[in-house]
Each structure stands twice: as C-alpha cells, then as structure tokens.
Symmetry: C2
Subunit: 237 residues, 2 copies
C-alpha cells in the first residue's frame, strides 16, 4: 500500500515529517511493522541495540527495573515518538506497551546508511534526542522538588498536553496508564497517588468519570499547584 504512511498517526511526527511522500515510501519499504499486545514488551533494557522504532499507534512506558524490584518509569511514549537510540551497546530501558501498539521498526544498520542518503535524517534524530533531554529534565525537576499532590497536578497537565496531540484538544482526556505506572513515574507509591487524586477531586480541581478519564474543572488552580510551564523561564507552553 502506497497510502500506508499518508494515513498514519505518525505522519507528522518529528521523524516522518522531514520526508516527502516519495521519500517516506522508500523509508517504509525498509521498515517492518511490529504489533504488540497491551502489557507485552517491545524491547528489553539488556537487549543489544539492533533496531529503532517509530510508534504509529498506541502508547508505551519506558522503564528501568532495579534488582530489588523497584521500578522507575522514564517516559510515556505515544504515536509519533521515536525510540531505540542509545549511547551504549544495550537499550538502557525496557519498553512496555500500555495499549496495543503498532510501530515501524528499522534495523539500526539501515538507519546508519539512511543517514548518508538523507543527512537531514541524522540532524532530525539529533533534534529528537535533544528534546528527550529537555523532557527528562522536566521530570527530574518535578521528582526533586515537588510534593505528591503537586506532582500529580503537574502530571495531569503534562499528559493532557500529550494526549491532545493525538486526540485533539477536548474538555476531558483519557490516560492509558494505571495508578501503579503513575506512581513509578513520579517516585511515589500507589496509595499516595490514589490519595492525591481523591484530594484533587474533592477540592473540585478535577473530576474523574471512569478511572482513566479526567476532566480539568479548575485549570487555574491546577496549574498553580503543578507549576506547569512555570519553571522560572519562558519556554514555549
């Protein structure tokens, strides 16, 4: 199908958007489409780096496991996110699907030769990596300085923004991750996450339809709490 990419949710993603329709068809010919069930792993942290991926649909969590059982989630990724780049011999995170997922898979060696053919690709991948640094620094900032309710407030606004990029802006939004995932992302326990949700609900900052559908009722208060877009400087909102 030559129309594969034109209909893809990731067509306007940072990676794919640099290519013309002709170019991306060639790129797609090199790709293998991977489908993963919810809960399954696309890749493991100890795997040798041989493939890279661009997510077409679904969502996943990048996580790292400690030997004592502790888990830290490094990022939640959506359609259009590019993963698999690493500086070492192995990915240093595992990628677990939150919802059933499809992704374009390229051989890492193919990516290297594509760099030669399309120099703008290497530049773009470079930009993507730099953006990852920003995102992860935001997370670091939140983990280091905020209290539990503030963390949740920040998290909700953060996910709402990500989700809006997929579904479009709307009054309420849907989260693909469980309370445990949220806890592992923010360095909290499930109980604390649950209590923070309850507190925000009782104080009428948000309302919760089913467990994964959130409506922001008092954006001003929530923003004040979460300090979203308030890390002192004027970065784009």
């Amino acid at each position: 199908m030559t129309t594969q990419c034109t209909q893809c949710q990731a067509r306007n993603s940072p990676l794919c958007s640099v290519f013309t329709d002709t170019e991306i068809a060639a790129l797609f010919n090199l790709a293998h489409v991977r489908r993963i069930e919810a809960g399954a792993y696309l890749l493991h942290e100890e795997d040798p780096v041989r493939q890279v991926y661009n997510i077409s649909s679904g969502a996943l969590a990048l996580e790292r496991l400690a030997s004592n059982g502790a888990k830290q989630i490094m990022a939640f990724c959506y359609a259009g996110d590019f993963i698999g780049i690493s500086s070492g011999p192995s990915y240093s995170v595992s990628a677990r699907a939150l919802k059933s997922l499809t992704a374009c898979q390229w051989q890492e060696t193919d990516l290297q030769s594509l760099y030669k053919q399309y120099p703008k690709l290497e530049t773009r991948v470079h930009e993507i990596t730099a953006r990852v640094v920003e995102a992860i620094m935001d997370q670091l900032f939140v983990l280091g300085s905020k209290k539990s309710v503030e963390k949740i407030a920040w998290f909700l606004l953060f996910i709402e923004t990500k989700q809006a990029r997929i579904d479009g802006a709307s009054k309420s939004f849907n989260m693909p991750m469980t309370r445990v995932d949220i806890a592992d992302y923010l360095g909290l326990t499930v109980e604390t996450v649950s209590r923070a949700f309850t507190q925000l609900r009782i104080n009428k900052l948000i309302s919760i339809t089913d467990k994964w559908t959130i409506t922001v009722e008092d954006r001003k208060a929530l923003t004040a709490l979460g300090g979203y877009a308030t890390p002192a400087l004027g970065r784009k909102g």
Copy 2:
C-alpha cells in the same frame, strides 16, 4: 600557540578526540577561550542559544531555578564535558562554575558549518547527547527510588568515578561542590545530606579529611548501599 590543545585536559574528551592534531588546530582557531570565576555563570537558562562550550578545566553545575526559589541541579560537569546543545530557542539550564573554569566557546552557527566540513563531528555530538540521556536517567532512577543515605552513597561513588577521569584513580578524592549543591542535585535538604555524611562516617564506610576530601573505607558496603552493583540492603527486615 599550536601546542594549546595538545596540553589541554580535554584533548581526549569525547568531542576533541575525534580530531587529528591538524584538524583540532583549525577548530581551536574558531574558538574563543572563556574564563569564569567560581560562583559565576557561564550561561543562563533563559539566554538564546548562540554558543556551545567544551570545558577545558574546572567544574560547573547545570541547574534550573523555580519561581518559588527551589533549585534543581541537573548535572555536574568536568573538563571534557560538552554543553550548550538545546532543542529549544534557549538553554533550559544555567551553568554555574564551582571552581574557576576555562572553556572553549564556539558560535552555534560555526558548529553548524563545521558539521558539513566534518560529518564525524555531528555524529559525535549526537553520541554525546545520547550519553547525557543515560546519565540523567541514572539520576532520575536514584531520585525516584532511593533513601537519603543510599542517595549519598550512590553520589559519592558517582563523583569518585568522574573525578578519577580527571585526577586519575586514588585512595581519596576531592569534591568541588558544597553540601547545598549535593542536596539540590539529589532532591534533599542540606541537613539531611549532612546527617547522611555523618552516618556514613560513623559507620566507617567513608572518612572525611577536610569537608571536600572523601576516602572510601569500606567500598563493598558503600556499593551495596548505593546500588552501583548489588541491590540496596533492605532495612525492611
């Protein structure tokens, strides 16, 4: 002076090591050498990105300030570290010198044209950025899952490794940062950091000569605590 670079502490850094002596002389001609006093800022987070830097000597902290006064240190950088790459219009961190510092400064526009002249440079900068991601993820993991004493144990082993790359391996090592800096790096308070140091000293895992000179006395126990190799010893027994 054609011998400038050959004597530089950063000659074998990730950035400079890809170049021959002839090439690096040309690179150095484009550079401006910046000198910064301890406590002064090399760049501010809100500055537009116009220059990039490779540290020749000294040490600095990359930090972000919140409007409420909270501060999060994102990284400690030493000779050989390359900084200034950003995905946005502004650096998203400030760089404060911990000890008097010298760094090679290039115009960001010059870097772009150097990419064309030396494709291996762009690849290397890309690798450096990817390594930054790994480092920040390590920090994220520590912030999210460890207790204060474990954080300090991890931190000491971490800094020892970094310091050894500059001074060479040795029984004891020197830290350029204050207790407040350590607290801001690990998401703790000064008092908690101080108590953790005391606890490690009393339990004879480390000894402290002057406030910034640390000797590791019981590496096995410290490693077990910090989780550099083995899981943290559980206090939940």
